[in-house]
Structure formats: structure tokens, C-alpha cells
């Protein structure tokens, strides 16, 4: 038994030493990484010297739909594909901690996070994509610890903060060394040959699924996250507006329910809300504007950005120049 114990402890000691060496080296790499969604974009935003007047936060739909350079004020799109509200709220807490908050925020919301079938709740696992800030940012640390009672065991290993990101981290580090980024965070979707086919083949199925959803309720977890987001903005005097992008398919019951709730909830909180999904303008019926049923291509993005600018004009007062397209 003594030999077994010595063997076991030796592995643990070796692992702790190796873990600390690797995490130290990766921390160094990470701090010089300014490309990509595995932390580089956040790093790039945090490292920017110039102030940001307007920050766009959201998922891939916000990332592909809103063109920051169309606004006359200094605008940056800090959007992350596939991420939901817990990620965006965590990101806001990081910006607050790092004193990098903008003057205005345009937050993109998704109806399916707010209206869920009874008994279901929004996925909180997206906070793990901010795992680099575990132990650095209290909000992120707390939310990750709440994922499961054993999460701290994984995070005892410092290298775990780079789990699954090692290759992209090394790749983006070399990209950053070659070329320092200089962009506003927008990446357009260019029209492709199969786009129309993709949209048409998807839309019927999606509408059928939407129509079959019953027992929908408003998700309290998402409300709490949105309230938290709003309170961070309020205590830092940030002007906040929320919006929902259009879909190609007809909005279902959950979109309607969420729209009614969000309109009322955000009105009570004094936050502007624009819903291009439920109140979809007719321009978006044009199939040529879409990459798939959820994402507009660059032509669609130009239209949505323009409409958003029109609707947020009063909100941003004179800061947005409508003549600048």
C-alpha cells in the first residue's frame, strides 16, 4: 500500500507542477492574443486605447447584422457566436472590472431565451466560455461555481481555463504577432449559391416546430440576467437599448409571448426596445437578403443597421449621424 500511495502522490505532484508551468506559459500567450473568439476579441477590446461610444453586444445574429462603421460615433461590435445572455452579462461585469465600459450599449436579445416550455430554463453553460476570468472576475467565478457542485475540482487545475482552446490560442497568438488587429468587430456574411435552398429547406420545419410548442412560460433565470445587465448599466450611467433581429420564418408563439413580456418589462425599466422579429418589416421577405433562416447576409445587414439607426436616433440624441451610411 505504501508503494501505491507514493505512486499516486507522485502523479499528483508532477501534475500540479506541470499544470502550473503550462498555465503560466499560456497566460503569457493569452495576454498577447488579439484575434478570435476564444478570448482574442475581448483582449483586443480591452487593449484598445480609444474610447468607445457605442458597444454592440450579442450573439452571431448581432455580429452579422449590425455594421458598426455605419454609425458616426465610435462603435465596436463585441459579439460572440452562439452565446446567450449569461455570457453577455458576464462580459459586461468583466468590462466593468477592467474599467472599459462604453457610454452606450446596444444589446441583442433572443426571444427563445425568455419564452421556454414549462419546466425548461435557459442554458447557463455559456458562462464557461469566459473561463479565462475564473478567479479573476467574481461574477464569472460565482456563475461557474454554480454550474455544478464539483466545478471547483476542474478549476483547481489552472490550465483548465484553456481547455479546448489551446490550438486556437496558439494560432491567434501567431496571428497577433504578425498583424495587430484594427477592426470594429464586424464580419459580414457574403451571399452564397446555396443560400436560398438552405432557407427554403429549413423554414417549413422551423415553423412546424414553433407551432407545436405549448405550455410556454417566461424564464425567470433570463429575467434575472437581464435585470442584472440593466443594473450594471444604471450604476455606471450607461445608456442601454435592446433589440431583436428578424428571422426569415414567421414568428411563433414563443416569440409573441416574449415580445409582450419584454416590451412591458423593458418599458418599466426605462430601456428602449426594438423588435424586428415580431414586428418584422416587409423588406425581410426578400429571400436574397438571407444566408439561412436566422442570419441576414451583408445586404440584409445594411437594411437592418439603417433601420436600427433610425429607431435609436432619439435615444442617442445627436451622437448618431443619420447621413453616414
Amino acid at each position: 500500500m505504501k508503494k501505491i500511495l507514493v505512486f499516486f502522490i507522485s502523479i499528483l505532484v508532477c501534475l500540479i507542477i506541470l499544470d502550473r508551468i503550462i498555465s503560466f506559459s499560456l497566460d503569457k500567450l493569452y495576454s498577447k492574443n488579439f484575434w478570435g473568439e476564444s478570448g482574442g476579441n475581448i483582449n483586443y477590446f480591452l487593449s484598445r486605447q480609444e474610447t468607445t461610444d457605442l458597444l454592440i453586444i450579442g450573439d452571431s445574429r448581432a455580429h452579422r447584422h449590425i455594421i458598426p462603421d455605419s454609425f458616426s460615433v465610435k462603435t465596436f461590435s463585441l459579439c460572440h457566436h452562439g452565446m446567450n445572455l449569461i455570457f453577455h452579462t458576464g462580459l459586461l461585469h468583466i468590462l466593468e472590472q477592467q474599467k472599459k465600459l462604453p457610454e452606450n450599449i446596444l444589446l441583442h436579445l433572443e426571444h427563445n431565451e425568455f419564452a421556454q416550455p414549462n419546466g425548461f430554463s435557459s442554458d447557463n453553460k455559456d458562462i464557461q466560455h469566459l473561463r479565462y476570468f475564473y478567479g479573476i472576475n467574481p461574477y464569472v467565478t460565482d456563475k461557474i461555481n454554480h454550474l455544478s457542485s464539483t466545478e471547483w475540482v476542474l478549476y483547481f487545475w489552472k490550465s483548465y481555463r484553456y481547455n479546448g482552446k489551446l490550438i486556437s490560442l496558439i494560432k491567434n497568438y501567431y496571428l497577433s504577432r504578425k498583424e495587430h488587429p484594427n477592426h470594429s468587430g464586424f464580419e459580414p456574411l457574403l451571399p452564397e449559391k446555396l443560400d436560398s435552398f438552405r432557407v427554403i429547406s429549413e423554414v417549413k420545419q422551423i415553423e412546424l416546430e414553433n407551432a407545436s410548442e405549448t405550455n410556454l412560460t417566461i424564464d425567470t433565470f433570463s429575467i434575472a440576467l437581464l435585470s442584472d445587465f440593466i443594473s450594471v448599466c444604471k450604476r455606471n450611467n450607461i445608456k442601454l437599448a435592446c433589440f431583436v433581429s428578424p428571422y426569415y420564418f414567421k414568428p411563433g408563439k414563443k416569440h409573441q409571448l416574449s415580445n409582450v413580456f419584454l416590451s412591458q418589462f423593458l418599458k418599466e425599466k426605462g430601456v428602449s426596445f426594438m423588435d424586428f422579429c415580431v414586428n418584422r418589416p416587409s423588406e425581410y421577405d426578400n429571400l436574397n437578403l438571407w444566408r439561412d433562416s436566422y442570419h441576414l447576409n451583408i445586404d440584409g445587414a445594411k437594411i437592418l443597421t439603417h433601420q436600427l439607426k433610425l429607431q435609436t436616433f432619439d435615444f442617442y440624441n445627436s451622437k448618431i449621424n443619420l447621413d453616414n451610411n
Partner: protein, 473 residues
């Protein structure tokens, strides 16, 4: 509770600690309680099935041993087979059977609406049913003396490391180890067991789970991908299913070995096989040897000439396919493999000398890998139509070379994981098992191996605690 979870780590540490302090003659009690607890972590009520199956087989095996009349003995065996297979049929094949009847009757304009069962398939049912079936058949044939101690017999049926996905153990191997009261907790067993467990964990969470992300994204949207992408996704699925299942087996064998039990080997680097016949000697060995001993040979094996041998091969593989799941795709998968084996039998493939040079060996290994991968399409696809679509796209794609990586990071992780896997499998585990490796390599080598495996899991592992593919069978 899956092996790749923190819950299992805690569970195993408790079992290991108690196992060490408990007197050897009472260890079976701890192992039995642990095994039942392990199984109940999925759906507690299903433990009743194991208890029922154990009670029936315990009674039948002891009764058969005492009975002198061969006819009565046979009746008891048939009774036990019917009970075991009825459980399997009810939980696993009921809906499939009714759907198939409904489809056939539909062709004759007869409307048949069977009651659809919504009962979940108990985890590992096919595995422990086959294990208890083989026990009773061996007792009937006089190969095994039935266990008189019901507790130890219950442990043989429910031994937690191999309960839910094998290896399907034979009584001749596992039962004597359970009966034995002396301690086998040695450094060699612990080190070899831990090394194998960690290598299995690496296979599962680094290779299989990462590969699953790519395979799922392609197979779930197969209409949008071209031939080359579908082909690569199929190759990656071949890798995924190997790492998923052999990873599970490694963790099972490793866990058992740390406690001093030796389970049978279940995989022997199957993708290095130079024929399909050789592949089936190296893939899921505990099932393929079970099918050989309890189905193929009783059917007549190759004793009645080539024609009957081929018929028996195809029938065995068809039922082997059906064992995997209640779907026609699994039947086709089994039939296709049976067809390969039949062709090889006709061509006397197993007598071809492969060891001429590295090029001929590589050629035959590549050919075998492609044949097996083709059959995996039926295994992975959701329907027969989907399988045909994918095969058609691979062979007749207009835009074949338009390959899509989808996510660079995931794809790079798959390549790195595969490279490390091949490196260890080819240079370390091809010729020696974990026990000889621990005995021949230095302590430092073993410590470094375990440390590197753990570090790879920390850096590249998917930590969701995902289920193993074979749990559904």
C-alpha cells in the same frame, strides 16, 4: 454515473478505500453494494430487473447441476433462455417488432396501430443478459460449476466496472476471482489499472467526444455537405466509436484491475487489421467470441461445408447487428459485415500471407478500414434513406472536393488527439499490454505516462460527462 465524471472518481475512491480496509472475505459485500449503487444511479427501479434476472439464473443453474435427467435439464435451460430473452425483447425490441409488423401489414392495406411502449431501455441490459445466458449454457454443458453463494453470484452478474457496457465476462474468468478471498491489491495491478483507466479516459474525452462534435454537425445536416466532407466525417466516426467504446472498456478493465480483478481484453488495435475476419477478432472481442461460442458454433459453424458456414456467418452477424439496437440500420450493418466475412471465407482470405512488406500490409489495412467505415455509415445514420444518401454523395458527388472543416479548432483537436493515440497505440500498446508495460518500464515512465494523460484530459478533454455510445445497447 459515467466513468468520465467527478461522481465516479469520488465513488471509486470510496470503494477503493473501503476495499483496502475491509477483510478480504467480506469484500464481495462491499463490491455488491457498490455495484447496485452504481447501477441505481441511472434509474433506481431497474435494479429490480437485475435482482430478478440474478434470482432466476441462480435457481436454474443450481437446479440444472443437480438434475440427472437430460430432458428436464434442457427444459430448465430453455426456460432460463426464454425468461432472459423476454426481458430483452420487452424492453428493447417491442416497439421495433410492432413497427415492422405495422409496416408489413400496411402493404396489404391492413391497419395495425400497436400500443407504443414509452419505457426506457435499462442501461446495460443486453450486456448482463448475455453474461447470465452464457453462464447457464456453460452450466448446462458442464463447463462451469454453479455458484452456491447467491451474493457472489449476484456480484458476478452486476460487477460494476463491466456492468453497463462490458466486457461481457465468462464465468470461468470472473467468478473464480470473486470467489477468491486473498488480496490482489498490488502496486503492479494498481499502476497498470490506473494507466489503462487514464488512457481510456483520454480516448473518450479527448478523442471520441471531440470527434463527436464534428460527426454530429455533419451527419445531422448531411444534405448540406459534399462527398469529401461526408467521407471524412465517416472516417472520424470510425475513430469516434472506437475511442468511445474501447475507451469505456479500458476504463472498466483499469478500474477492475486497480481493485485486483483481471477482466478480459475487449479491443486489440482493430483498425490495424488486414482483413475483416481479423478485424472481428480484435473488435469487441467479448461479444464476437460470445457470438462465436454460443451462436455460430451451435448453428453448425463451418462443420458442414462452405455454404453452411457462410449461412451461419451471415445469420450470426445479422443477430449481432440486431443485438446492437432495434433498428433495420443495425441489421443492415450486421448483414454487411456478414457479407464481408462470407466473401473472405470464399476467397480463403485468412490464408493470404500479409507479412510480405509494409506496403502490402498498409494496403490491406487501408482496404479493411474503408470496408468497415462503409458499414459504419449504417450504424451512425438515423435511417436507411440517410445512409443511402450519404453513400451516394460519397461516390457520386458533383462537388466532391469542396471539403468543409466547419470549426478549425475542433478539427485541429481531432488531429492532435488522433496523432497522440496512434503514437501510443503503435509504439507502446501494439505488442504489450498494460501489466507487462508496468513491469518492464521504470516507475518514472509510468508516472510520466499518467501525468501526461491527465494533462491532455485537462487541456483537450470535453468535460460534460457525456454518455458512451454503447450504453444505448
Amino acid at each position: 454515473m459515467v466513468f468520465n465524471s467527478i461522481q465516479y472518481l469520488i465513488f471509486f475512491l470510496i470503494i477503493f478505500g473501503l476495499y483496502y480496509v475491509i477483510q478480504p472475505k467480506y469484500r464481495w459485500v462491499l463490491m455488491l453494494i457498490g455495484s447496485y449503487f452504481f447501477y441505481m444511479s441511472w434509474k433506481p427501479v431497474y435494479i429490480l430487473l437485475i435482482i430478478f434476472s440474478t434470482s432466476v439464473d441462480y435457481y436454474v443453474s443450481n437446479k440444472m447441476y443437480r438434475i440427472k435427467d437430460p430432458k428436464l435439464k434442457k427444459k430448465f435451460l430453455i426456460g432460463s433462455i426464454i425468461v432472459n430473452l423476454s426481458l430483452l425483447f420487452f424492453f428493447k425490441y417491442y416497439n421495433f417488432f410492432n413497427d415492422s409488423i405495422s409496416t408489413v401489414l400496411g402493404h396489404f392495406n391492413v391497419i395495425y396501430h400497436p400500443i407504443i411502449s414509452t419505457i426506457l431501455l435499462p442501461v446495460g441490459l443486453s450486456f448482463y443478459t448475455f453474461q447470465s445466458l452464457s453462464f447457464n449454457i456453460d452450466v448446462y454443458k458442464g463447463k462451469v460449476i454453479p455458484e452456491r453463494h447467491i451474493g457472489k453470484f449476484a456480484l458476478y452478474i452486476s460487477f460494476f466496472p463491466q456492468l453497463v457496457a462490458g466486457p461481457i465476462e465468462r464465468a470461468t474468468n470472473l467468478l473464480p476471482q470473486i470467489q477468491r478471498n486473498d488480496s490482489n491489491l498490488t502496486y503492479q495491478n494498481f499502476a497498470a489499472g490506473l494507466s489503462q483507466l487514464l488512457f481510456g479516459l483520454f480516448k473518450k474525452v479527448v478523442v471520441a467526444d471531440t470527434a463527436a462534435i464534428y460527426v454530429n454537425s455533419v451527419y445531422n445536416n448531411y444534405e448540406f455537405y459534399t462527398g469529401s466532407t461526408l467521407l471524412i466525417a465517416t472516417y472520424i466516426f470510425a475513430l469516434q466509436i472506437y475511442c468511445d467504446f474501447s475507451g469505456y472498456s479500458d476504463m472498466a478493465i483499469g478500474s477492475a484491475r486497480m481493485l485486483g480483478y483481471n477482466l478480459m481484453e475487449n479491443f486489440r488495435i482493430p483498425y490495424f487489421s488486414k482483413s475483416v475476419t481479423e478485424f472481428w477478432r480484435r473488435w469487441h472481442i467479448s461479444l464476437s467470441s460470445w457470438l462465436r461460442d454460443y451462436l455460430y458454433i451451435p448453428l453448425g459453424g463451418n462443420r458442414k461445408g462452405v455454404f453452411f458456414a457462410i449461412k451461419n456467418l451471415i445469420l450470426t452477424m445479422l443477430l449481432g447487428g440486431l443485438w446492437h439496437g432495434a433498428s433495420w440500420n443495425f441489421v443492415i450493418w450486421g448483414a454487411l459485415n456478414g457479407f464481408y466475412l462470407a466473401i473472405e471465407r470464399i476467397l480463403n482470405w485468412n490464408k493470404i500471407e500479409f507479412n510480405k512488406n509494409i506496403f502490402s500490409k498498409s494496403f490491406y489495412a487501408f482496404l479493411t478500414f474503408n470496408l468497415i467505415s462503409l458499414s459504419w455509415i449504417f450504424f451512425r445514420a438515423q435511417s436507411f434513406d440517410q445512409s443511402l444518401f450519404i453513400i451516394k454523395e460519397i461516390f457520386h458527388s458533383r462537388d466532391f472536393f469542396n471539403f468543409q472543416i466547419i470549426d478549425t479548432s475542433i478539427f485541429a483537436n481531432i488531429i492532435i488527439g488522433t496523432a497522440i493515440l496512434l503514437l501510443f497505440e503503435y509504439f507502446v500498446f501494439r505488442k504489450a499490454n498494460f501489466i507487462p508495460i508496468v513491469n518492464t518500464k521504470s516507475l518514472t515512465w509510468v508516472i510520466l505516462f499518467c501525468t501526461v494523460m491527465l494533462m491532455l484530459v485537462i487541456l483537450f478533454g470535453i468535460s460534460e460527462g457525456s454518455q458512451f455510445i454503447y450504453f444505448q445497447f
